[in-house]
């Protein structure tokens, strides 16, 4: 599922994505629409920045005493009859879920969207044990049929056209071809109904765990988490240890910015607040509730320079705002978490050695920080990633030499002026209409897909001095 990207792999994935016109059209449409909806959604609040500041302060306070909140959460869950399992790493988490599945003789598992389950590659582990796993979120269902991975946190099949989905359903579900999204949704509903009714186990993610009473909150628009956590006899909920809020009042603040930042909605259609399993007298609900708390590097990140990344509430707004994500899409990152947040979170959790290229996938324009509902300083964290990559010796030789040469020139004003004059004369001599259309390698990497402007006749410092004299 995850790639093992050295620099060439990453470059190849990016090149492949950039060459895919259909993908780029789909990305442009989707991310542009999400950004507009987000802006409208936040505009429905009298003081959107106050809500975001509040959400950020809650995340900060929660993490500052995460140990106490986690203990309280686990105690409350146990009091209402739920089982809490602590998983140190991915292997631990899959072993816990597999153990539960085998104990209840599960043959079929229905899943609602869970990034944690992607992070630990749960489906693979269950399928290896001969258990069938079916994703129930429509987007996840589509990419599961296509044997692909999610390319966006909240819209996993954002990269597929309706014609591609139509072909997929026709081939794999044996239904007549249609490219009408409404008809395809009806087909998926019917196919998944059987799964809900027959599944022995429902696996879900968790948006927030509430420490004061052991409630878990799960949001969807389709209602798939509600069904996956109500119909099967056993419910397993998977969450990262950082996804805690202290109180229900805090939860209300977080939900207000989460839905608006993700899709512009004032609230997601379904917010399920689950407090323990089915109770005596209840007509339905799961007999068992298991909550898997996953560490997998988070406790270590908490003490490091990238700790702020743990404030993230997985809304996907930074993906939509990122000029790099908007061009290359999710798959090019090669990791479960994509976009600016993925470029920080993935190396933080799994180590910079394997993922040193991800923090480079940014222009550091700051659009991600501007839209983040909890105001994570993503550009700072991306720079931190680059610093770590450089320290680990993961910067390519040409880049190091080039930067060393630049430093040598830029710290000597006479040399800098000389180099500038040389570049100006040279580029203006070979430019046509003020642009360079073709350069020799390695600069041809730039001119292969775009032109380079010739240097201006007067440099900024020349214009500045001239202006001061006037």
């Amino acid at each position: 599922m995850s790639g093992s990207p050295g620099l060439p792999d990453f470059g190849q994935r990016v090149a492949k994505a950039l060459a895919d016109g259909q993908l780029r059209t789909a990305l442009n449409r989707a991310t542009g629409r999400f950004l507009r909806l987000r802006a409208e959604g936040l505009a429905s609040l009298p003081d959107p920045d106050a809500s975001r500041d509040r959400a950020r302060a809650i995340r900060a306070e929660t993490l500052a005493s995460l140990d106490e909140h986690l203990e309280q959460f686990a105690d409350r869950v146990a009091e209402v009859g739920g089982h809490v399992h602590w998983a140190a790493d991915a292997a631990g988490a899959t072993a816990i879920v597999l153990n539960i599945a085998q104990r209840c003789g599960a043959k079929l598992v229905v899943k609602s969207k869970s990034m944690i389950s992607e992070e630990v590659h749960l489906n693979l582990a269950l399928e290896r044990a001969g258990i069938r796993v079916v994703e129930s979120d429509l987007g996840e269902y589509i990419i599961q049929l296509a044997r692909e991975t999610p390319s966006h946190i909240i819209a996993p099949a954002i990269h597929k056209t309706k014609e591609q989905v139509g072909e997929l359903f026709h081939e794999l579900l044996g239904v007549p071809y249609t490219d009408d999204p409404k008809e395809m949704t009806r087909v998926a509903r019917a196919a998944l109904r059987t799964v809900y009714l027959e599944a022995d186990l429902g696996v879900s993610g968790v948006n927030f765990g509430v420490a004061e009473n052991g409630t878990i909150a799960i949001v969807t628009n389709e209602g798939n988490a509600s069904l996956a956590t109500s119909a099967p006899r056993v419910h397993v909920a998977m969450m990262g240890i950082e996804r805690i809020v202290p109180t229900l009042a805090d939860l209300a603040v977080m939900l207000r910015v989460l839905a608006r930042s993700a899709t512009g909605q004032k609230a997601s259609v379904y917010t399920d607040l689950i407090t323990g399993p089915r109770r005596p007298g209840d007509p339905d609900g799961p007999e068992e509730l298991h909550i898997v708390l996953l560490d997998n590097g988070r406790s270590r990140v908490l003490g490091g320079p990238s700790a702020e990344v743990l404030y993230c509430i997985r809304c996907g707004a930074c993906l939509n705002a990122c000029p790099v994500y908007r061009e290359i899409g999710g798959h090019a990152y090669g990791s479960v978490y994509t976009g600016p947040i993925g470029a920080v979170l993935t190396p933080a959790l799994e180590g910079i050695d394997k993922w040193s290229d991800l923090p480079q996938a940014s222009s550091l324009c700051g659009a991600c920080r501007e839209v983040c509902p909890v105001r994570i300083d993503l550009p700072r964290l991306l720079l931190e990633g680059r610093r770590q990559a450089a320290e680990a010796g993961r910067t390519p030789l040409w880049s190091r030499l080039l930067l060393r040469a630049y430093r040598h020139v830029a710290t000597r004003p006479w040399l800098f002026r000389l180099a500038l004059r040389g570049s100006r004369l040279l580029t203006r001599a070979i430019a046509r209409d003020g642009w360079l259309h073709r350069l020799p390698p390695p600069l041809s990497a730039w001119t292969a897909t775009r032109d380079f402007p010739a240097f201006a006749e007067r440099s900024f410092s020349m214009a500045w001095r001239a202006g001061r004299r006037r």
């Binding site: 379904y270 407090t275 339905d284």
Partner: protein, 218 residues
Amino acid sequence: MSASFAILQRVRESLAIARLPRPPMPTASGLPEIVDSLAVFRDAVNALGGRVFSPEPDAVVGLIVERARNAGAGDLMAWDDLPIPGMADAFARAGMRVLDAVLPVEASGRTERLALLEGAAVGLTGAEVGIAETGSLVLASGERRSRLAWLLPPCHIALLSRTRVLPTLESVFVAHPNLCVGSAEVALIAGPSRTADIELTLTRGVHGPRELEIILLP
């Protein structure tokens, strides 16, 4: 050493050296100001594609039966503690059957019971409160209150007292502090089930109900 102890130990060690940005809590609440909760609620539900009815007291039973028939109800799922006298008789007269929604505790028979309930055309439930800001219904499971009643059938009819609409989710948690402690499942439902996963085309009724009809009780 248990897994929980080891993880908490690592969290504590990290917190001892953590440099988390700690912004102050802003004084502004950021909450929307809502004066007429009922009117805002009604508009919000309509905008989400749900419908709101406000029948006269003596027309409630008739309206419920009419909406159920309109949704094609032969069989329906219904909470059996609804405060509507004469409801059961009215369904019987209309030739509608209320299904037994209690699932067996053991694995055997559960799928069969679910398959039977899947045939219901309408789910009839109450609602604890409404939330004006988001147009959400707040439903709580419990004795005689099936959660599948608001999920499985393609049409969900919810009865809500018109005096129980509050401005925000915050105000719901303040007014009903034991809401979550008191029920294994509390659902906040804003409009009919929807998706935009195929080319961002909005489609209603993907897993949950396609129709959401709210009947305001006098």
